[in-house]
């Protein structure tokens, strides 16, 4: 029996909605079957908590007296450069920005202990941030230099806007070379010393809605501990990839652009992150509800780790040269078991995305919906 989002929302408002996580639905379907679950369950919550470099915040820090125009000038937050090529006091701070005097990889491998992602975490935590700006001075904006402290509570606006988040599937990174390499997939030991992966698998939003039938532009979500929305398809969104018989992408596929009010978020779910030898970034907590409108949608949410495959790629040569040959396809149950076998060798595996935190988010979102605090949305337009 098909349901509508409107009907589900009515049940949420009455506190009667049946909500389970994308992990709980797996056993529930095994126990009760697709038909029964599609009828009984209203919402399945999905989540992820992983490093997402394409993250950042728009800030409007308010006008000074006299006024300054940062656009065309320069702007630094705790010595980390932000982008000021916008209106007078609108700026954008990206997660991977670094202080000008950070040695980067000059002393290899660089530490990248502090960057844009760390400032976003501190800002959200309510800490004061030093702001240093310069402008060229105009008749209407005469001030040329500004040194002050900003705090999130005083900002006119602080908006998290991520051009790309929640990648639907990702590579498993290995190193075939004879030296240690430092990548955005972590430290990779030589000669297949380890294999790193990054997805919450069966809990991951886009694995549970592989053809974007419910997640679309305008979808309301859990973002960084607050409320956010799917703004658009993310950069590099590519639905036309190889898929399993069940329709699950076997390589990186869909992505989401996300937006939300940073002032309502929490530093627990936005964490400054450092990859040795690679750079700074932000780890973002995301939770997406999937309305169980019909059996087909329910069937997708019952996907489990053993049915989701990821490509193993060499990050010493194939990836940097853009000639990614798939060494092997492995599933997330194998990855989570602690080791996989490549070229006859047993390799220990590590995840960069936290399954424990993803589970926590899926449960928080479930709680919000059950209490009637969070209503579902119809997509304004589907994703491509």
């Amino acid at each position: 029996m098909a349901k509508t989002i409107k009907e589900i929302n009515e049940r949420i408002k009455k506190g009667k909605a049946v909500v389970v996580t994308a992990e709980e639905i797996i056993d529930l379907v095994k126990e009760k079957g697709i038909k029964r679950c599609a009828k009984d369950v209203d919402v399945v919550t999905t989540a992820t908590f992983g490093p997402m470099c394409s993250s950042g915040v728009f800030i409007n820090f308010g006008h000074t007296k006299p006024k300054i125009k940062v656009g065309g000038g320069k702007i630094y937050l705790n010595d980390v450069p932000a982008y000021g090529g916008l209106a007078a006091v609108d700026i954008y701070l990206g997660a991977s920005a670094l202080p000008d005097d950070d040695p980067r990889n000059k002393v290899y491998p660089g530490e990248f202990g502090y960057g844009g992602g760390h400032i976003i975490e501190e800002l959200v935590a309510g800490k004061d941030i030093r702001l240093k700006a310069s402008g060229y001075g105009t008749d209407c904006y005469p001030k040329k230099e500004l040194k002050t402290k900003i705090n999130i509570r005083d900002l006119d606006k602080a908006i998290l806007y991520n051009p790309r988040s929640a990648y639907q599937n990702y590579n498993v990174a290995v190193n075939l070379s004879d030296r240690v390499i430092y990548t955005y997939m972590g430290v990779l030991q030589p000669r297949l010393g380890n294999a790193n992966y990054c997805s919450s698998g069966q809990l991951s939003p886009l694995f549970n809605d592989p053809y974007y039938e419910t997640i679309g532009i305008g979808t309301r979500i859990f973002l960084g501990g607050g409320i956010g929305y799917v703004a658009f398809s993310g950069t590099q969104h590519n639905p036309r990839v190889k898929r399993t018989k069940k329709g699950i992408p076997k390589e990186p596929a869909g992505t989401l652009a996300l937006i939300g009010d940073l002032k309502k978020m929490s530093s627990k779910w936005l964490r400054g992150t450092s990859f040795t030898g690679y750079g700074a970034t932000l780890t973002v907590g995301i939770g997406v509800p999937i309305p169980i409108l019909n059996e087909k949608i329910l069937r997708f949410t019952a996907i489990e780790d053993s049915q989701i495959y990821a490509p193993v790629i060499d990050y010493s040569k194939a990836y940097p040269l853009g000639k990614e040959t798939v060494l092997k396809e492995v599933n997330y149950a194998q990855l989570r078991s602690g080791s996989i076998k490549i070229k006859g060798k047993e390799i220990p595996t590590s995840s960069l995305s936290s399954y424990a935190k993803a589970r926590e988010i899926a449960n928080i979102l479930k709680g919000w919906i059950k209490k009637g605090k969070f209503l579902l949305t119809e997509p304004v337009t589907p994703l491509p």
Binding site: F49, G186, V187, N194, R271, T283, S350, L352, Y355, R359
Partner: protein
């Protein structure tokens, strides 16, 4: 009975230029492996050792060090897992050569077994949240 111990030795600056570990071999028949060392003239010196030998010799050797005024602590005190910073992602798991990190299959949470740690520091570089700290 042969025993093995991992210890952190802290030397006062007055002892930094004296040959000390040599006596562990010569006088007490102990085998040691230097896991880590920081010895700077005129300053405090620190040495991480794995010492192996007969129980009696080991105890006598350690007494010899203590009598000289060297502070001896079990090794694990110097590596710290800052749980508040840990996101339980598991990036430390595969990099650790002694499997000091484990992930609970039910809770999916990471735990750190200090006893297995050899202070190779690989986890420090591998942790994206800088949740592993070394006091050395």
């Amino acid at each position: 009975m042969v025993r093995k111990k991992r210890v952190v030795l802290t030397f006062p600056h007055s002892l930094v230029d004296k040959p000390i570990t040599y006596h562990l071999v010569k006088d007490y028949g102990l085998v040691f492996n230097i896991l880590k060392a920081r010895v700077t003239p005129q300053e405090e010196g620190r040495l991480v050792l794995e010492i192996e030998g007969k129980r009696e010799n080991l105890n006598r050797g350690i007494k010899f060090l203590k009598d000289l005024g060297i502070r001896i602590e079990p090794l694990a005190q110097d590596i710290r897992w800052v749980e508040e910073k840990c996101t339980h992602c598991g990036a430390c798991l595969a990099i650790c050569p002694t499997q000091a990190f484990t992930i609970d299959p039910t809770t999916r949470k990471v735990s750190f077994d200090k006893k297995k740690c050899i202070v190779c520091e690989l986890c420090i570089k591998a942790c994206p949240y800088r949740a592993m700290e070394i006091r050395f």
